[in-house]
C-alpha cells in the first residue's frame, strides 16, 4: 500500500532522512519508532506529499507521489503531530470541510459525519467550537478528520502525544480497530505503544533505518542473551572489570546506579557474580534477572550513539505501560 524507496531529505545542509526504504502491506499496522528528531515526521511529511524528497520515491496505493500526488492524496488520511485544527469552527463544520475538500459530496459527508463522530466518541461535542475542546478531544477530532473520507491508508504522527493515560489507551484501541480495515503507518517514540498496536516495526535513528522486523522477531534477535541487574556499593570501574572477567559473561554495562551483566540464557551466573562481589569486599544491594525489552533492543541497535539524554525519553513513558 505504501512503498518508500531510497528516501533522502536534506534541510539545507542538514541530513534529516538518509536513504530509507520500507513497505507497508495492505491491512498492516506499521510502527515507525525512534527518538525525537530521528526523521519520523519528515518521512511522514514526504509520504503525504507535504514535503518533496531530495532523492527517492514514494508510492501510495500505486500512485507515485511525485508524479501523481493529487490522486495519491485521495487515499491518505493524515493526522500530523501537532493536531492542526481550525479553532473558530464547530466540530461538525470542520469535519464537513475536511470531507468536502477530499472530494466527498455534500450528502455523503453528512451521513459519514454521524458514523465518524460515533466511532471517535464525539457525539456530545459535535456542535462545540474546536477552540473550546481539551487536547484529548481535539486529538479525537484530528482522528475523525483523517478517517472521514474512508481512506485506504492512514498516516498518524505520534497519535498519543500529550493526552492523558486513559485517552491514550482508548486511542490505541481505536487505532487497532481502524487497523482491521485500513493500512496504517504510525510513528512513536514510545516503545510500548508500538509493541501494543503494531504488527511490524521500523526503527529509525538519526535518519537511518537501524532495524525492521515483526515485533516478535525483534525480541528474539536479542533473546540470545539475558541480562542481570546488580546494584553494588563499590568502585564502579573495579566492579565492572572484575565482573567482566567471570567466565560466561558477555558484557557488563554500567548505568547509574546499576550494573547490567549480559549472559547466555542457559547459564545462571548469579552465584558466581555474588561470589565475585563478596571477594572484592563490596556490598551487594540488589540483584535481579531482567528480560530484554524493546527498550533494550533499541539501545542495543543504536548503542554506539546512545547517551543519557535519550534514555529520558523512554523513562518518562514507563507509566504508560500499565495504562
Amino acid at each position: 500500500m505504501i512503498r518508500v524507496q531510497n528516501l533522502t531529505k536534506y534541510y539545507g545542509e542538514r541530513l534529516a532522512v538518509d536513504d530509507i526504504s520500507f513497505n507497508v502491506e495492505k491491512g498492516e499496522i506499521l510502527g515507525l519508532l525512534g527518538p525525537n528528531g530521528a526523521g519520523k515526521t519528515t518521512a511522514m511529511r514526504i509520504i503525504t506529499s507535504f514535503l518533496m524528497p531530495t532523492r527517492g520515491d514514494v508510492w501510495v496505493a500505486d500512485c507515485n507521489m511525485a508524479e501523481n500526488s493529487l490522486e495519491g492524496r485521495k487515499h491518505i488520511g493524515y493526522l500530523p503531530e501537532a493536531i492542526p485544527l481550525y479553532t473558530d469552527v464547530t466540530v461538525r463544520s470542520y469535519l464537513e470541510f475536511a470531507g468536502r475538500i477530499r472530494g466527498m459530496d455534500r450528502n455523503h459527508v453528512k451521513t459519514r459525519i454521524d458514523d465518524v463522530v460515533e466511532l471517535c466518541r464525539l457525539e456530545e461535542y459535535i456542535d462545540v467550537l474546536i477552540g473550546k475542546l481539551s487536547r484529548g478531544f481535539k486529538q479525537r477530532v484530528g482522528v475523525a478528520q483523517a478517517i472521514i473520507h474512508e481512506p485506504e491508508v492512514m498516516i498518524l504522527d505520534e497519535p498519543t502525544l500529550g493526552i492523558d493515560p486513559i485517552q491514550v489507551s482508548q486511542t490505541r484501541q481505536l487505532i487497532k480497530d481502524l487497523g482491521k480495515e485500513h493500512t496504517i503507518l504510525l510513528s512513536s517514540h514510545i516503545l510500548p505503544e508500538v509493541s501494543m498496536t503494531c504488527d511490524r516495526v521500523v526503527i529509525i535513528h538519526e535518519g537511518r533505518i537501524v532495524a525492521e522486523d515483526k515485533i516478535e522477531n525483534l525480541s528474539t534477535i536479542i533473546k540470545g542473551s539475558r541480562s542481570i541487574r546488580l546494584e553494588v556499593r563499590g568502585p564502579t570501574g573495579e566492579v565492572t572489570a572484575k565482573l567482566s572477567n567471570i567466565e560466561g559473561v558477555q558484557q557488563v554495562r554500567y548505568k547509574e546506579p546499576h550494573h547490567f551483566v549480559d549472559c547466555p540464557p542457559e547459564q545462571d551466573l548469579r552465584p558466581k557474580l555474588m561470589e565475585a562481589i563478596v571477594q572484592g569486599g563490596w556490598v551487594l544491594l540488589g540483584m535481579e534477572s531482567v528480560e530484554m525489552s524493546l527498550e533494550d533492543i533499541f539501545l542495543e541497535l543504536t548503542t554506539d550513539e546512545y547517551d543519557d539524554d535519550e534514555e529520558d525519553i523512554f523513562v518518562e513513558d514507563e507509566g504508560d505501560v500499565e495504562a
Partner: protein, 238 residues
C-alpha cells in the same frame, strides 16, 4: 473549480467569524463617511461627487487589504492546518485562488456598504453617474491588487504581523513610485509612473476606463498570485 469554491466559501465564513473583518469595515466606513460628509458640507465643495469618499478611501483600501490578508496563509502555517490543506487532494493554485476569492468577498461586501454615499447624492442632487461607476471599478481593481500582494506576503512567513508589514511596504512602495517619478530622469520616471498603483487609479476617478489601467491591475493580481503559488511550492522543497 469545486475546490476553489470550497476554500473561498470557507475563507469568507472564517472572515465573518473573526472580529478583524468587522473592525476593518467599521473603521473604513467611519473614516470614509466622515470625509464624504465634510467634503459635501465644507468650503472646498465644488461638485456633487464621491471625491470625499475616494480621497482617504484608496489609501485605506491598501492598508486594510494588508490587514485582511495577513492571516490568510500565515495563520494556517502557525496553526499547522497548512499541513492538512497541502496534503488534501487540492492543487496549490486552487488553495491560492480560493483564499484570494474568499477575501475578495469581504472586500466587495465592504465596498457594497459604501454604496449609500452615491445613493445619497442621487437622492439629494444630480451627480454625474459615470465617474462614480468607474471609481468603483477602480476601487475593486485596486483592492484586489492589494489583496494579491497581501496574500503573497502572507505566504512567505508564519507571523501575521510580519506579513502585514511586508505587504504594507510593497504596497506603499508601489503606490508612491509615481511621486518619485519627478525626481529621476524622464525615461526612468515614465517607467516608475507606469508601475505605480496610484497613477492608474486616478483615471478611474475621472470617469475614464483605460484598458491599459485594467491590464495593469490584472497583471499585478496575476503576478502576485503566481508568486504566492511559487512560494508555496518552494516551501515543499525546502
Amino acid at each position: 473549480m469545486r475546490n476553489i469554491g470550497l476554500i473561498a466559501s470557507k475563507e469568507f465564513r472564517s472572515h465573518l467569524t473573526s472580529p478583524m473583518a468587522y473592525i476593518v469595515i467599521f473603521v473604513f466606513l467611519l473614516i470614509t463617511g466622515t470625509f464624504f460628509s465634510t467634503y459635501l458640507t465644507g468650503t472646498g465643495y465644488t461638485d456633487t461627487s464621491i471625491a470625499g469618499f475616494l480621497s482617504p478611501g484608496n489609501l485605506l483600501l491598501l492598508l486594510f487589504a494588508s490587514v485582511l490578508t495577513m492571516r490568510l496563509l500565515a495563520e494556517e502555517k502557525k496553526m499547522g492546518t497548512w499541513e492538512l490543506l497541502l496534503t488534501a487532494p487540492v492543487r496549490d493554485s486552487e488553495v491560492v485562488l480560493g483564499k484570494f476569492l474568499g477575501s475578495m468577498g469581504i472586500l466587495l461586501s465592504m465596498l457594497a456598504l459604501t454604496l449609500y454615499y452615491p445613493l445619497l447624492l442621487v437622492w439629494f442632487g444630480d451627480p454625474d453617474i459615470g465617474p462614480i461607476v468607474t471609481s468603483y471599478i477602480g476601487l475593486i481593481l485596486l483592492g484586489s491588487s492589494a489583496m494579491a500582494v497581501g496574500l503573497f506576503a502572507s505566504s512567505v512567513t508564519s507571523n501575521q504581523i510580519v506579513a502585514a508589514v511586508i505587504s504594507g511596504v510593497i504596497l506603499f512602495a508601489l503606490w508612491f513610485l509615481g511621486s518619485a517619478a519627478t525626481l529621476v530622469p524622464a525615461n526612468i520616471g515614465e517607467l516608475l509612473a507606469y508601475i505605480s498603483l496610484m497613477g492608474h487609479f486616478y483615471d478611474f476617478t475621472m470617469g475614464i476606463i483605460d484598458t491599459r489601467a485594467i491590464i495593469y491591475y490584472l497583471s499585478i493580481i496575476a503576478l502576485f498570485l503566481f508568486f504566492t503559488i511559487r512560494s508555496i511550492e518552494t516551501g515543499r522543497w525546502s
